[in-house]
Amino acid sequence: MNTTTRSVSFVENLQLEISDNLFNEALLLADVDNDGDSELVVGQINGELSIFKGSSTKPWRTCLHLGMITCVGVGDLWNQRENVLFCITAEGWCHIFYITSESTEEILEPISSQLIPSNCKILLLADVDGDGVLELVTGHADRAVYVHKLETDYHEQSDVQDQPCIEKDEHEKKNKTSVSSLTSQGNKQDLPKESVDQEQGTEAPQKLDRKDSKQQETDAKPKSLHDLKEQRGSGGLAKHQTFSHRLVTINHWTAPSQIGSLVVFDVAQTRHLLASYPGGTYAILTSWNLSQSEMPTEQISSSPSNSIFKQLPLLWGRNKDIPTNLITLKSDSSGANSVEQNHTYLALCTQDGHLILMNGNKLQWSLRVDHGCYNLFSLSKLDITDDGHEEIAVCSWDGITHIIDRLKNVVKFKFGENVMAFCAGKYAFSPGTNLPALVYVTSSNRVVIYWNARLSLMVSTNLGVKMKSKATHDKETRYTIDTATAEGGKNSNELSQLYQQCLYGNI
């Protein structure tokens, strides 16, 4: 494989001040207010949640005293084709915000705040049971993974906070008997059936969009006619007055070691929920068949209840305790090559600088980031060339960022400061234009958004290569070049002299 490494420098940036430190999972680029433009969500340890929008250096929306925010997520969890913002604290509070661009109040009020198990450190928004509705998957510092579903109650309720706690307690009690390490709690049947029906209608869509917390796609498809009606009926801001939301735990696992990250990964019509473990390994927590959209309940309960421990074919000696991160990449090659369509890749990165890209069950490549650049603490992704193929962005504590595409081409960017948190994605500096962006949080509580981190190509090219590719696609071009070079001597040296004459000489 012909791969290249080059370094670039990005210029256009926006510098923001924040008041306190934050976790890496509490930094997110997503469309919070459902206007199509991406915003930056920053949740700090002191309980301040800020949303930055556009070119302003002041927070667009804030909410204070939320607790020690460990992770934030944005997604269509309530299945209304509109994103809601989640913010989970170490204490176990999950605050849900519904934000529209119409509302002008700068101080946010959560539409719902409720307790989930504490010590949550990572979250994932994905459809993990194949019912077409997103679930909230939380990974906890005490090695537990929970799957929650957001339920909407129709009846008016003034106190939304007590109910879920009770619900949860009961729920856990019910499961107490079967809790054991590495055991799936397939207790979907215990759930009130009608709540599922309310949320998703009667039919689940055939094709499921992968959703996750880091990069939330905004083009959620209409689920059914039923949903549309429901949405129209409920109508915008009035929602939280007539409906109450509660998170219900529907499944949980206990992992043997610390979980680095959670992802869903599709391999050949099968969707897996993966959790990464230290030492460059991951486990499949659950998997189900995507093509069989019906009876997802059975799928879950009948799936093997223990997680499958995956050892990766790493060639180098590795530290067993090194934290590991996972991310899935989408690669849209729509049109031309119908053979490879909508591939998802799985990228695995250990903090000591090893990167692996998996395509399905195949190892695509592995890479060792050059020495002196360890502590790759943050793994993110963005489509830096805007070609539908997502690239990996991995950042180390000292600010050196590697952007790697699926063909193993590397672009290096050196952010000159130490980094506390990093994420990549899209950001709309000017309204209506989402551009590839890199976000760094420095140790001096400064957020730097490189809002125009665009590259036209991952691999730099030159005029000779360009002309050659033009010539192969276009007969006229080839003819012109052939006549100019008099059918012979097409050595690249002579060609470049010819091009130089064309551009700078007086022919």
Binding site: T4, T5, R6, S7, V8, S9, F10, V11, E12, S55, K414, G416, S430, L455, S456, V459, S460, T461, N462, L463, G464, V465, K466, M467, K470, T477, T480, I481, T483, A484, T485, A486, G489, S492, N493, E494, L495, S496, Q497, L498, Y499, Q500, Q501, C502, L503, Y504, G505, N506, I507
Partner: protein, 472 residues
């Protein structure tokens, strides 16, 4: 005269003096002036560059820190010297899309040395060897005990293929009794033979000439007035020197001084150098750069020896323009300086909006045969100006020349030097920009370049095959 105080020196090396506070204010201003950037979006359509490479340097560079090396058979290289005594060489190996950037191990540069300026040239025929000069300051304990040196590196063997390492080893160490500024080179004729000499501007208000003694194969300082009578009795330290040899045995020399003095001299070389014409001008601030150029991007500059076509004799002396960049004023162009002196002045609009202009480059970046002006500023902006309303060379109507900002790009650091050369060996030239943090390579939009190339090729193929023969 003794060396200036050390503080003063760091200003020269880093930047022109006296503009630090001013500069910082301006920098804040430009950071907020992003709106201006948006308004120029339309202009960006015409011209577009993308950064294809950036190689960091260990410490900062200065306005004399970049030099290009033309080696036709081996491709072009570029040297960037950093203050810490390291020199980085960037080149694209043949048939490679990835540049190699490495440090050249020049000998006799101690740890405590700070490089001031670097320059390189190819020896004239027949020896063809590469000569690199590096001026440096050696700090001994404190600034008051500093020593200055000029290191000249050259490969003794005159083989065609040169290796950087062998050049870096052969060093000649010349101690200087002045603080060096710009190091440049010029052609002179000694006994009818063409020689290239180093010209080193110094803090003693003079320019020093170092000439190679062929028999002893070593460089020695020669009195500059014998060969450059225009470079004696200077009123101030020279910050920038330009020497341009003309076809008709004439030479144009331009100096830009620390006190704002600019002098253009036309020298006749036929029977010993004698000054024919001299124009002087005093600007308000230090002159950071002067550039002499002609409106037409002449083919002779582009081509190497064997492809020279004698077509430029009729307008070789008439249309020289002079670009003068002053640290505290807007940059200006004096048109037709050789014939009319400093009479026609055209200001480059907005060129003083981004702190002082530190570096300039003259290049035909839109391939229309006319030169554009590229300015690099301490305020982290690269500005490209185009001459709109091309002047009529024959008449006095040249006053209607005007310049328009054609393209601009922001950088993350102040800019110090610009070159326009073909680094990628594909015939298309790139802009190499040295900033505080490293070397940026900006490439033209390849689609536009390819389209332009094809249209030119189609024109030539229509005109007949005999011309294309001469091309290939």
């Amino acid at each position: 005269m003794l060396c200036p105080p050390s503080r003063d020196l760091s200003f020269f090396v880093g930047l022109a003096p006296g503009t630090w506070e001013l500069g910082n204010d301006n920098f804040v201003g430009t950071g907020e002036g992003l709106g201006l950037n948006q308004t120029n979006m339309a202009d960006k359509e015409d011209l577009n560059f993308e950064e294809i490479h950036f190689s960091p340097i260990p410490s900062q560079t200065n306005i004399y820190g970049l030099t290009k090396i033309d080696r036709n058979e081996e491709g072009n290289k570029i040297f960037l010297a950093s203050l810490s005594g390291r020199v980085v060489c960037l080149e694209y190996p043949r048939n490679s899309l990835v540049p190699t950037s490495r440090e050249v191990p020049f000998t006799y540069i101690p740890e405590s040395a700070e490089i001031v300026s670097i320059d390189a040239f190819n020896r004239p025929e027949p020896s063809k060897g590469l000569v690199v000069g590096i001026s440096l300051i050696l700090l001994k304990n404190s600034r008051s005990h500093q020593k200055q040196f000029l290191n000249i590196y050259s490969a003794l063997e005159s083989k065609a293929e040169f290796s950087l390492d062998s050049i870096a080893e052969g060093c000649q160490h010349l101690e200087l009794d002045f603080v060096p500024f710009q190091l440049t080179h010029a052609e002179i004729f000694i006994k009818g033979r063409k020689e290239v000499v180093f010209l080193l501007c110094g803090s003693d208000e003079s320019v020093h000439m170092f000439c190679e003694d062929r028999t002893h194969q070593r460089f020695e300082e020669q009195p500059v007035q014998n060969y450059f009578p225009e470079l004696q009795n200077l009123p101030s330290n020279v910050l920038w020197l330009e020497v341009e040899a003309q076809q008709n045995a004439k030479r144009v020399t331009v100096i830009g001084c620390q006190n704002g003095h600019v002098k253009v001299t036309l020298t006749d070389l036929t029977a010993g150098p004698s000054i024919v014409e001299e124009y002087t001008l005093d600007r308000d601030g230090p002159i950071s750069s002067v550039k002499l150029y002609s409106q037409r991007s002449s083919q002779i500059k582009v081509n190497s020896d064997d492809q020279m076509i004698e077509t430029t004799t009729e307008e070789s002396s008439t249309d020289y323009h002079l670009l003068v960049c002053c640290a505290i004023e807007a940059s200006v162009v004096y048109t037709n300086v050789i014939t009319q002196g400093f009479t026609n002045m055209v200001t480059l609009p907005d060129s003083d909006d981004f702190d002082c202009v530190t570096c300039t480059c003259i290049a035909d970046v839109d391939w229309d045969g006319n030169n554009e002006i590229i300015l690099g500023t301490y305020g982290q902006e690269l500005l490209v100006y185009k001459c709109i309303s091309v002047p009529d060379n024959t008449l006095q109507s040249s006053s209607n020349v005007d310049f328009q900002l054609m393209w601009r790009r922001s950088f993350a650091n102040p800019l110090f030097a610009i070159e326009y050369l073909d680094l990628t060996n594909d015939g298309l030239k790139e802009i190499a920009v040295a900033s505080l943090s490293g070397l940026h390579v900006l490439q033209h939009n390849l689609d536009k370049a390819a389209a332009h190339c094809l249209s030119k090729l189609q024109q030539t193929s229509l005109r007949g095959p005999q011309e294309t023969e001469s091309v290939t």
